[in-house]
Amino acid sequence: MNRESINATILFIGLVLLQIIVLNNINFLGYINPFLYILFIFYYPLKKIDYNIILLSFFLGLAIDYFSNTGGINAAATLFIAFVRIPVLKVVIGKRELDYSSLSIDKLPFGRKYTYILTLTLIHHFIVFGLEYFKWSSFGIILLKTLLTTVFTMILVMISFTFVSRK
């Protein structure tokens, strides 16, 4: 095991425990709980083709699902953002080809970095609530929950990035 994979393992377990023990019980305003565990996707090193992140994100989501009795909702959403993160990053940076050897989201300017994170967070939350309600008639409440939870998650993500810098 190299250092990268040890870090990833600790982050994986830490985020799952944090999510199920603390964050799933916050219930701000009655029903808002941030999904900070997707921080894993933002921290994980960027590569052009990476099978690890696809598998890891699936199992990360599935672990959360196991604890919150949500079937495969979190797994589906997390897997999806892990898959689209490179295309989203390309759009945000505005380049067709990325130099993966020197690429790290810590080196991105503030605006681009958080546009990238915000986009992925919105997609993730929309899939989670969309699959949870799974009805067109609940579209309003899905959007509302997506937006409110995104705000909450973003605040926590920003705090995490400020205090924990990746070496």
């Binding site: 009655g30 598998l55 196991y66 797994a75």
Partner: protein, 276 residues
């Protein structure tokens, strides 16, 4: 053939994603139907064990509230006991023949170790399982009223589908008349649930008490549910009957699971008559 093969090799990445996404969606669909989500639930060794640990801490905080509830229940039961004593005092019985009594329901006490109330389908996890005689499809109550229905069981843990879910409806009736309705939830507020299919012949007013109907084999008749909070009438039909639950679903601790000992007999009989 060559082309198909090279297509697969080129898009391995995408195909892996597609495969896993498919699995996730299947799990999701299974969780939306009541009886099928056997794979992903918190009634297993790992998740149940961790929730048990967390709950030991939480229980300490809820202890005071729980004591109050138990004290109230004790008072009610003692009052009931007194009532019996007075009416029986005229006839002095020396022998209690237990064959005269017939037990229809069996109660099992359990502790809630995980509680959801903010999703559209909420589940509770209990610290008792098949080794304590719990099966799926049993009613779960506490002294204040109904809580839910057991769903998946493992050796030592059980998940309970809470009354706060959008898929499953519970048969209920008014305490003042015999009109039946179904209890459902619109997933908006964890304190209020909705009463559906109540016929217009039933006269209701705000504050009326709702109890379980006993038409299903899950709950015995007469378990308290809640009181009517508000309702509309439209085209000679009741609409939007909101019911305030007696139970605070956000703060539950100890519950009882009700096993209907006649369930098998009733089900057999119903099956037999439907075949004839």
């Amino acid at each position: 053939m060559q082309q198909i093969l090279s297509f697969f090799l080129k898009n391995k990445h995408f195909l892996l994603f597609l495969l896993l996404q498919l699995i996730a969606i299947i799990f999701t669909i299974q969780s939306h139907s009541f009886h099928r989500s056997k794979f992903i639930n918190s009634a297993n060794f790992i998740t149940g064990g961790i929730y048990n640990k967390i709950n030991n801490v939480k229980e300490f905080i809820l202890l005071k509230k729980e004591n109050v509830r138990l004290a109230q229940e004790n008072v009610e039961l003692k009052n009931l006991l007194n009532l019996k004593g007075v009416s029986d005092s005229a006839i002095v019985k020396s022998v209690i023949d237990t064959t005269n009594y017939y037990q229809k329901y069996d109660y099992i006490a359990a502790k809630i170790i995980n509680n959801d109330f903010r999703k559209s389908n909420n589940y509770l996890t209990l610290n008792k399982g098949t080794s304590n005689g719990i099966k799926s499809d049993l009613g779960v109550v506490n002294s204040k009223g109904i809580v839910g229905i057991t769903k998946s069981t493992s050796n030592n843990y059980t998940t309970v589908l809470s009354v706060l879910n959008v898929n499953y409806q519970i048969n209920v009736r008014l305490v003042s008349s015999d009109h039946f309705g179904s209890l459902s939830w619109d997933s908006k507020d964890y304190r209020t649930v909705q009463l559906l299919y109540l016929p217009i012949q039933a006269s209701i007013k705000i504050g009326d008490t709702i109890i379980t109907g006993g038409r299903s084999t899950i709950f015995p008749e007469g378990i308290p549910v809640g009181t009517i909070k508000s309702f509309n009438t439209n085209n000679n039909n009741y609409e939007n009957i909101n019911v305030t639950l007696f139970n605070d679903m956000s703060a539950l601790s100890y519950v009882e699971i009700i096993d209907n000992l006649d369930k098998k007999e009733i089900k057999n009989l119903e099956e037999k008559s439907s075949h004839e």
